[in-house]
């Protein structure tokens, strides 16, 4: 452990306002890309299903 307490960990030796935004944006991007890719998949599947239903109706 590099820190004595949890509050010391949060303070980051006085560099909290540089370290945490850097890690924060990285986390946001990783999570964001996963959510984005999943939403893309969901919308695509809905689109395919809609088209299939339309074609089933017209046939």
């Amino acid at each position: 452990m590099a820190f004595d307490s949890f509050s010391a960990f949060l303070t980051m030796g006085g560099y909290a306002r540089y370290v945490w935004p850097a890690w924060g944006l990285a986390t946001l991007m990783i999570v964001g890309f996963v959510l984005w890719a999943r939403r893309e998949r969901r919308q695509l599947m809905q689109q395919l299903q809609r088209r299939r239903r339309r074609e089933a109706d017209s046939a």
């Binding site: 560099y15 890309f33 395919l48």
Partner: protein, 243 residues
């Protein structure tokens, strides 16, 4: 070997291969990033000069490495597309671009945050920094050019050419710290020498880099499947997936 390459060019086969390769990379990414984050934030020792501010390196270096690797990946895919007219290669280049742009921005952003306490400025027109900014513009250019042509494979050739021209910036980024007098420190990892930092610092960094790579590969495989299904949505095999 050649039948494998030939098969890889078939969207249907590639779609199935991506599905098979994916889980391993998601698991690797999750484990490496979790272990790497805890290790580098809480267990690696503080730097004797920079204190705890140096912990930014654990996202800065992976982001900067990916910013370059992703573009090289796009350039390779573009070359394959131009030479052999393999559509899947163009789709791969398409799905990689947003992540590369994000990593370039993350590298610049974390570098700025790190610059304030260590250099006393968040930006300077230094060779490395400027080359990285140009890299961000190249990503934006590639994405915008594809967007300008609308969906699907129109303009794919133009995008591929722009990507291949743009890849010239990668060696410039890499050697900028060698060719010019710059504020930026030289590379942390090289193939020929041991890192200048102790193992308690570079091992978690290596884990983070591998974690970012795994995440990139997993995300690319996932989004490549999306892209294949979207562009091949009129084929019977894709429509059968909707059931």
């Amino acid at each position: 070997m050649w039948t494998f390459v030939h098969k890889l060019g078939s969207p249907k086969w590639c779609h199935a291969l991506c599905a098979r390769l994916q889980p391993g990379f998601w698991i690797a990414a999750g484990l490496l990033l979790a272990v790497g984050a805890v290790w580098s934030l809480a267990f690696s020792p503080p730097d004797y000069q920079m204190g705890d501010s140096y912990r930014i390196i654990y996202v800065h270096v992976p982001a900067a490495i990916l910013a370059q690797s992703v573009f090289v990946g796009m350039a390779l895919a573009s070359a394959v597309f131009l030479i052999w007219k393999i559509k899947v290669a163009d789709m791969a280049a398409t799905v990689m671009a947003p992540f590369g742009a994000a990593m370039t921005f993350l590298g610049l952003f974390t570098g700025s945050l790190w610059g304030v306490p260590t250099w006393g400025t968040w930006w300077t027109w230094d060779a490395r920094l400027t080359a990285m900014l140009i890299q961000l513009f190249l990503y934006i250019g590639v994405i915008a050019l594809r967007g300008a042509y609308g969906r699907d494979d129109q303009g794919a050739k133009a995008v591929a050419v722009l990507t291949l021209v743009g890849v010239v910036n990668i060696p410039i980024i890499k050697y900028s710290v060698v060719w010019w007098n710059t504020l930026h420190q030289p590379a942390t990892f090289t193939l020929t020498e041991r890192p200048a930092m102790p193992a308690s610092m570079w091992v978690p960094l290596l884990i983070m880099v591998l974690g970012f790579y795994s995440f990139f590969i997993a995300l690319t495989l996932y989004r490549l499947r999306n892209e294949i299904m979207r562009r091949e949505s009129r084929t019977r095999w894709v429509q059968a997936l909707a059931d």
